[in-house]
């Protein structure tokens, strides 16, 4: 089931949570909504589910306009961050809930519901736990039960709101891999919300980067990392440095030093670069010069943050572990790769 979101606007008490958002989700795709808190990612997910209704705009499930349909009519599987399992029901009853509340003629017999619950417990790798209560399960197990419950109604799409947000790091990683495998096996169109870029990039086919109620970029992990379309995406995904530069006659200048060449027009620009795209050059050569303030070792590399005269933001550079660096050292670096954004753009 492909989903098309068309010019969705959502206001809460006149405060806009989403401005004119459009998005195409392909059938069978696993897609992540990624952004900081307040970016509108959860609101978008809830709008697709029918747990909220848009102020304006439309949502299509296939060719079917679902915008004004109730959450029950949309037939979606929704998984909540805090599981929302029914505590007074056994695991099997939780999973069977969606089938048991169907109107009489569509309701399978209770033996069939029971069988289906067992089957789903196998699928989420919790066989034999049907008679337990949710409080008797670990966080990771609860989330898998919540997923089985959502899958029981054979949903047209699977929507997950920060599904691993309440779990600890190790369980998160395991569940992430497991969810990817499950998706590849069942083929549900799946949308999940996360604020964890590593999770988004590792799990999703495509990532939707959101900020302040707008979609900044939609693309694969490579797209958003290597070809960020906005300063926000550049700085939100991975590490980054920003420097105000001036372009004159194809030369990029900072503090009187020419850092490189560009085809962009003359004027003021912001230059974004990754810490690993900076190389050390001898003092006196054109580059960004400064004095090291903080040096730290991380795995196989070394990071140094240095103060540039006249700038309050430090520049971070990644160095090979073999290069010694200590606070107080003078440093001169030159960017190997960079992206320029017009000064006035967001």
């Amino acid at each position: 089931m492909d989903i098309r979101v068309r010019n969705i606007r959502k206001e809460f008490d006149l405060f806009p949570a989403l401005h004119d958002v459009s998005l195409d989700i392909r059938s069978g795709e696993l897609i992540a909504l990624l952004g900081p808190s307040g970016s509108g990612k959860t609101t978008l997910l809830r709008l697709i589910a029918g747990l909220e209704f848009p102020t304006s705009g439309q949502i299509f499930f296939g060719d079917d306009d679902a915008s004004q349909k109730s959450v029950q009519e949309r037939h979606v599987g929704f998984v909540f961050q805090h599981y929302a399992l029914f505590k007074h029901m056994t695991v099997a009853d939780n999973i069977g809930f969606g089938l048991r509340v169907r109107p009489g003629r569509d309701r399978p017999p209770s033996a069939e519901i029971r069988r289906r619950a067992e089957e789903l417990l196998e699928l989420v790798q919790l066989p034999g736990l049907g008679n337990r209560y949710p409080t008797q399960l670990s966080g990771g197990q609860r989330q898998r039960v919540a997923l089985a419950r959502a899958l029981a109604i054979e949903p047209r799409v699977l929507l997950l709101d920060e599904p691993f947000g309440a779990l600890d790091a190790k369980v998160r990683k395991d569940l992430r891999r497991w969810l990817r495998e499950l998706h590849d096996r069942t083929g549900h169109t799946t949308v999940f919300v996360t604020h964890d870029q590593e999770e988004a990039v590792e799990l999703a086919d495509r990532v939707v980067v959101m900020s302040q109620g707008r979609i900044e970029q939609v693309g694969s992990a490579d797209d958003i990392y290597d070809r960020p379309q906005s300063p926000f995406v550049f700085s939100f995904i991975g590490q980054s440095n920003a420097l105000p530069v001036e372009v004159r006659g194809g030369e990029i200048a900072f503090a009187g030093q020419v850092l490189g060449r560009t085809d962009e027009a003359d004027g003021h620009w912001r230059m974004f670069m990754r810490p690993h795209d900076l190389e050390i050059v001898p003092a006196g050569e054109p580059g960004i010069a400064g004095r090291v303030a903080v040096a730290r070792r991380s795995g196989s590399s070394r990071f140094a943050e240095f103060d540039v005269p006249g700038r309050s933001e430090r520049i971070e550079v990644e160095l090979p572990a073999s290069v010694a660096s200590a606070p107080g050292m003078d440093l001169n670096v030159r960017p190997k790769r960079w992206t320029l954004y017009a000064e006035e753009s967001r």
Binding site: L51, H82, F86, H88, V101
Partner: protein, 299 residues
């Protein structure tokens, strides 16, 4: 110093003689004094009067005790008390659940006002509550024509007493449910709806089971108050002996007629009702402790 392996004997003795108790615990004499104070207070204010009721009731022997509580007027008072509670408690059960549900699960204008209004019966004297209904439904009252048109006698009759009792006991169920339901939020309901359940099914299969223990407490407290209510009912009943007398009113009438041991005999029934309520609450709490903790914890 204490980590040193070669501790000197004198130093280790000093460590051992220091008071070893959790930091939040007071010295033994403070603890004993506080516990004694609490026990003496409880004995004086709660236990002694309770014992006195039973002692006074049985002063003239068991047979006069039994005749006092099986006398026609006493039986009628018991019937009336139970009837009023049987109507007022279900009314407040429905209202309390509906109000708590609205307040906890939805955002609407005037919500703060509604919460305040629910508490009103706690802050208004029950006597005033009784008077309000007399003013409304009594002779010349603004709602008297309505009562007349319906052909119901409200003041000095059962309907008025039910109204007054309902008013006085209105907050109990709602007050018990609101904080719990607010804490639980709407996550479970949203899950049920997304799984295809309608509003009523969601309410009966998810919302209600999540609050059943709080609801039971609320009903127990509401019932205890409904049976024991004096002020509001005294005003609106007119205290017609054998007709509009409830148990608390009957106790007062007997007392005013200097039938002390009969008054205390009926009073023991009220005290027993209260003890039964407490017992029921304690047994439920003990029996379903894990279950209650689970629903209290919310998510």
């Amino acid at each position: 110093m204490a980590l040193d392996a070669t501790l000197q004997p004198s130093a280790s003795a000093a460590v051992r003689s220091a008071p070893q108790r959790p930091v939040t615990t007071e010295a033994p004499w403070v603890r004993r004094a506080l516990i004694t104070l609490a026990l003496v207070f409880l004995a004086l204010v709660l236990f002694l009067p309770l014992v006195a009721v039973f002692v006074e009731a049985l002063r003239n022997g068991v047979s006069s005790y039994l005749s006092a509580i099986t006398e026609p007027d006493a039986l009628q008072a018991m019937r009336l008390t139970l009837t009023i509670a049987a109507i007022a408690v279900p009314l407040n059960l429905v209202f309390g659940v509906a109000a708590a549900w609205a307040i906890a699960k939805f955002e609407f204008r005037g919500k703060a006002l509604l919460i305040t209004v629910i508490d009103l019966p706690f802050s208004v004297s029950p006597v005033i509550a009784g008077f309000v209904f007399i003013l409304l439904f009594g002779t010349g009252g603004s709602l008297q024509p309505l009562a007349q048109w319906l052909g119901i006698q409200i003041v000095f009759a059962l309907p008025g007493m039910v109204l007054a009792t309902t008013f006085v006991t209105l907050p109990f169920v709602a007050r018990e449910l609101i904080p719990l339901m607010q804490e639980q939020g709407t996550g479970d309901e949203e899950a049920a709806l997304s799984l295809g359940a309608g509003g009523w099914r969601t309410f009966f299969l998810v919302t209600l089971p999540n609050v059943k223990w709080a609801l039971l407490y609320g009903v127990l407290l509401c019932n205890a108050r409904a049976m024991g209510e004096f002020g509001a009912v005294a005003v609106i009943s007119g205290k017609i002996r054998g007709e509009t007398n409830t148990m608390p009113l009957h106790v007062e009438i007997l007392y005013n007629e200097y039938a002390f041991s009969a008054a205390f005999a009926v009073a023991t029934l009220l005290a027993l009702l209260a003890l039964l309520t407490l017992l029921l609450k304690t047994v439920l709490e003990w029996r379903f402790a894990g279950d209650i903790a689970a629903t209290r914890r919310g998510h």
